[in-house]
Amino acid sequence: MNDSFLVAGPITPVLISELMTLGNDDTGAGAVSVFAGKVRDDEIEGKKVTALEYSAYNEMAEKVAAEIIRTVKSAFSDVRKVVFVHSTGVVKAGEVSLFIMVTSGHRDHAISACRHTLELIKENLPVWKRELF
């Protein structure tokens, strides 16, 4: 597993499986909440999106990502683990570009904290996208 919050290309099913095993040995965690963001083949001005090309301000993104995790952990006391990765580069329609996993003792905090992590990423992570047709 790499230590970066950014991965080149799509977040593959294999990587998702690996990420989901993190914290498997934590028998005090009763709840796991996961969010995956996928590229949609939206139609824009009559043309279908076939992929998105993501770019990031890498150094800042890594700092912001670590800060997001600290914020979420301190806001939700029952949370045990917060994991997320975001793609850079080309991600095709149907592929995953964002993966978040939060574990907690009970279900409320895992679900709320996962959602909160998503909103913090949308607001604060310096990432941009460009449609490819």
Partner: protein
């Protein structure tokens, strides 16, 4: 006093300016904003923020020699 600073373009700013980074000479970030809009009028339509040395700028202030300013269009992660 004017200092040489590196300006990094991201997202649509890279497409508008046609490059990844440029040098500017400015004493503070308020002046730098004006210089950016003068040199690249296309940036007037972009609601951008600035980061100074990798941290989001909270308010305008002095620039030091070799400071790195990132020009950040609205984020679009997720």
């Amino acid at each position: 006093m004017k200092n040489v600073v590196r300006v990094l373009w991201f997202g649509v700013a890279q497409e508008i300016t046609g490059s990844a980074e440029e040098e500017f000479m400015a004493e503070d970030t308020a002046v730098l904003r004006l210089q950016i809009l003068e040199r690249h009028p296309g940036m007037r339509t972009v609601n951008f923020r600035l980061a100074l040395n990798g941290t989001m700028l909270k308010k305008d202030g002095q620039l030091e020699e070799n400071d790195v300013i990132a020009v950040l269009p609205p984020f679009a992660g997720g």
